[in-house]
């Protein structure tokens, strides 16, 4: 079957200038391929990190802090007045969530969420002549396993060993490595309150999130209260939701209701998530720049073709080609380069992803991974293809418009 005339002419123009056409195709192809590969890699890491956070950490943490310091009585009495206070001394308050048991009971009544109390603080671990500062969290295993996936991340031992072993502690893999501690070792734990306790390592965990594995340890809530010398104190309420998207609005509601700071998972990880936003803001324009450069190539090729084919344009118009027909021929040339470049780019992008997936290496950044974490989605193919075809067509549009505006009389007069 014969090709449509405009397509036939466009193809022959491109095939006639093979080298330039190949260079343009290569530009589009590389742009599309790298867009797909880099997007898969970056989004893979980002999504993996977020899913690990959602999986490992509580979706909301209620802390014994307030977002803004309480206003002075005089400020409350005269809200519109300009007040200057001297010699204010902060009141020494006992830290911890006041009425935590009531809060716990209230939250437990709500559907679609699980709550666990905790007491978190810093301690010093002493082992084999090494002192390591770690974060220690007192938990109740029965409730904890409903709000975090600590149990799933245990490399050895069980969460219930906190109940069954006296003075038991669970360490992050990084903490253990730093001090050369192994399971069943006895370590010394010293708190800022001056309490010292010999504890037995009953389990090690690896969440895959470096900062947690290097600093977090778990003991029974009661032990933590003894260590911190804060009997019956709870300074964290950990909440896990059935619908993770509800974290931010629910946290805001809890904060309004109880007055304590309630951080959804997005806020807890805002530093890393903020870095991802910057990363995306750098990555997408950079990868898009490859496509834009490729489009300059297309513009160049089609401009050259228009220049070279001026006589042909003259005769086509004298034969009865409309301006729009001439424009179509040259726009189609851009479209062909865009579509063919996209198809080859898709293939190379897919091969790049498979190649990256086959590479195995140990990596430790925000997260631990054995090789690249890749996110495969048709969306990357559609976005890169759409961008390539659109920009290739736009790059062809200007020379095509110039071609369609050429006056055939000027051309046939000038030829000969």
């Amino acid at each position: 079957m014969a090709l449509p005339l405009a397509l036939d002419i466009a193809l022959r123009h491109l095939l006639h200038r093979r080298r330039q056409t190949l260079v343009s195709l290569l530009g589009v192809t590389l742009g599309v391929a790298f867009f797909i590969a880099i997007s898969a890699m970056l989004q893979g890491f980002q999504r993996d990190f977020i899913s690990r956070i959602i999986d490992i950490q509580p979706h909301i943490i209620v802390m014994d802090e307030v977002r803004e310091p309480p206003r002075q009585p005089v400020e409350r009495a005269f809200p519109d007045a300009a007040i200057l206070l001297h010699g204010l001394k902060p009141r020494e308050e006992t830290r911890g969530l006041r009425g935590a048991r009531n809060m716990l009971a209230t939250l437990e009544e709500a559907s679609g969420l699980h709550v666990a109390p905790a007491l978190s603080g810093n301690v010093l671990i002493h082992f084999g002549g090494k002192d390591i500062s770690v974060n220690i969290t007192g938990i109740t295993p029965d409730q904890e396993r409903k709000v975090t996936h600590i149990e799933k991340d245990l490399l050895s031992g069980t969460l219930d060993a906190l109940y069954t072993t006296s003075n038991a502690i669970i360490l992050g893999e990084g903490v253990a490595k730093k001090a050369g501690i192994r399971k069943d070792d006895l370590i010394t734990v010293v708190s800022p309150a001056g309490v010292m306790m010999k504890m037995k390592v009953v389990a090690l965990f690896s969440s895959g999130i470096t900062v947690l594995d290097n600093f977090d340890t778990y003991v029974l809530l009661k032990k933590a209260q003894v260590l911190q010398n804060r009997p019956n104190v709870i300074n964290r309420l950990k909440i896990r939701l059935d619908d993770v998207e509800q974290a931010a609005p629910l946290a805001a509601r809890i904060e309004r209701q109880f007055g304590y700071r309630a951080e959804p998972w997005q806020e807890q990880s805002r530093n890393v998530l903020g870095i991802y936003v910057i990363q995306n803001a750098i990555m997408y324009p950079t990868v898009s720049a490859i496509l834009i450069v490729a489009c300059f190539g297309i513009f160049n090729v089609i401009s050259t073709v228009v220049f070279e084919k001026t006589r042909d344009i003259g005769i086509m118009k004298s034969m009865g080609f409309r301006d729009s027909d001439v424009r179509l021929v040259f726009v189609m040339e851009g479209l062909i380069v865009g579509i063919v470049g996209t198809l080859i780019g898709w293939l190379i992008g897919w091969l790049l992803i498979e190649f990256m997936a086959s590479l195995k290496f140990e990596m430790e950044g925000f997260v631990k991974a054995q090789g690249f974490v890749l996110y495969r989605t048709p969306r990357h193919y559609l976005i890169s293809g759409g961008m390539a075809v659109l920009s290739a067509t736009l790059a062809a549009w200007l020379p095509a418009r110039r071609a369609s505006r050429l006056n055939p009389v000027d051309i046939v007069r000038g030829a000969g």
């Binding site: 079957m1 014969a2 005339l5 002419i9 022959r12 123009h13 095939l15 006639h16 006589r311 042909d312 003259g314 005769i315 086509m316 118009k317 004298s318 034969m319 009865g320 080609f321 409309r322 301006d323 729009s324 027909d325 055939p408 009389v409 046939v412 007069r413 030829a415 000969g416």
Partner: protein
């Protein structure tokens, strides 16, 4: 020719001025009628406006004043697209330079206007193009590229292309300018044959007085006006 049928081509007070600080008049107030089946030669010195008149008659250029009627249809108010459609279906152009598309074979070049018009399907279009090349004794060259042909052969392919949509009007601008005298005479024979045997109107611009004398009528231009 029937008394009722309109002329193939009619120009009324046709004027073409080039604007600018010093306007130049290429063609001034030309009245002209070409009958169906008439073979007309336009002659004149260089710069007399021969080609400009031909481009106006062929609807490639727009007059500053006056009008062109093609088979009775006044083209003065026609849109550029309508003029393109008229050129495609009713006018065949032959230029001094052959203007064949270099990437297309001779056959494909002749097929282009047929495919553009779209009245014939793929096979019929190919047969029509092939027949035209046969008539112009180019059958054996149909698959060759233009660069593989001689100047005379290329010009005959260009004539075949001009005839592709069976137009009633053929306009040729110095079609023998790049040809030797024997080939030029052959090309003129073809034009005469197109007019006298096939009933097409043929208007040829030429410098060659001897060839012009073989036409049915000769129009001589001087300074954009018909002389005599």
């Amino acid at each position: 020719m029937s008394e009722a049928s309109p002329p193939a081509l009619e120009a009324r007070a046709l004027t073409r001025e080039l604007p600018g600080p010093v306007p130049v008049t290429l063609v001034r107030g030309i009245d002209l009628t070409i009958a169906p089946g008439e073979f007309v030669a336009i002659t004149g010195p260089s710069g007399s406006g021969k080609s400009s008149l031909l481009y106006l008659l062929g609807l490639l250029d727009r007059p500053t004043a006056g009008t062109v009627l093609l088979s009775g249809e006044d083209t003065i108010g026609s849109s550029p697209d309508r003029l393109a459609d008229l050129r495609l279906a009713r006018i065949g152009f032959v230029f001094q330079f052959h203007f064949l598309l270099p990437e297309f074979s001779c056959l494909a070049n002749v097929e282009i206007p047929i495919r553009k018009l779209g009245r014939l399907g793929g096979t019929a279009a190919r047969r029509r193009a092939s027949d035209l090349l046969e008539q112009l004794e180019l059958g054996e060259h149909r698959q060759k590229l233009p660069e593989q042909l001689s100047g005379g052969q290329r010009q005959r392919v260009a004539i075949a292309r001009a005839l592709a949509n069976d137009p009633p009007l053929i306009l040729a601008d110095e079609p023998t300018g790049n040809l030797d005298s024997r080939t030029a005479a052959l090309v003129f024979d073809i034009f005469r044959d197109l007019a006298h045997t096939q009933g097409r109107s043929v208007v040829v611009v030429t410098h060659d007085a001897a060839l012009a004398r073989t036409a049915d009528r000769r129009i001589h231009l001087v300074d954009g006006r018909i002389e005599g």
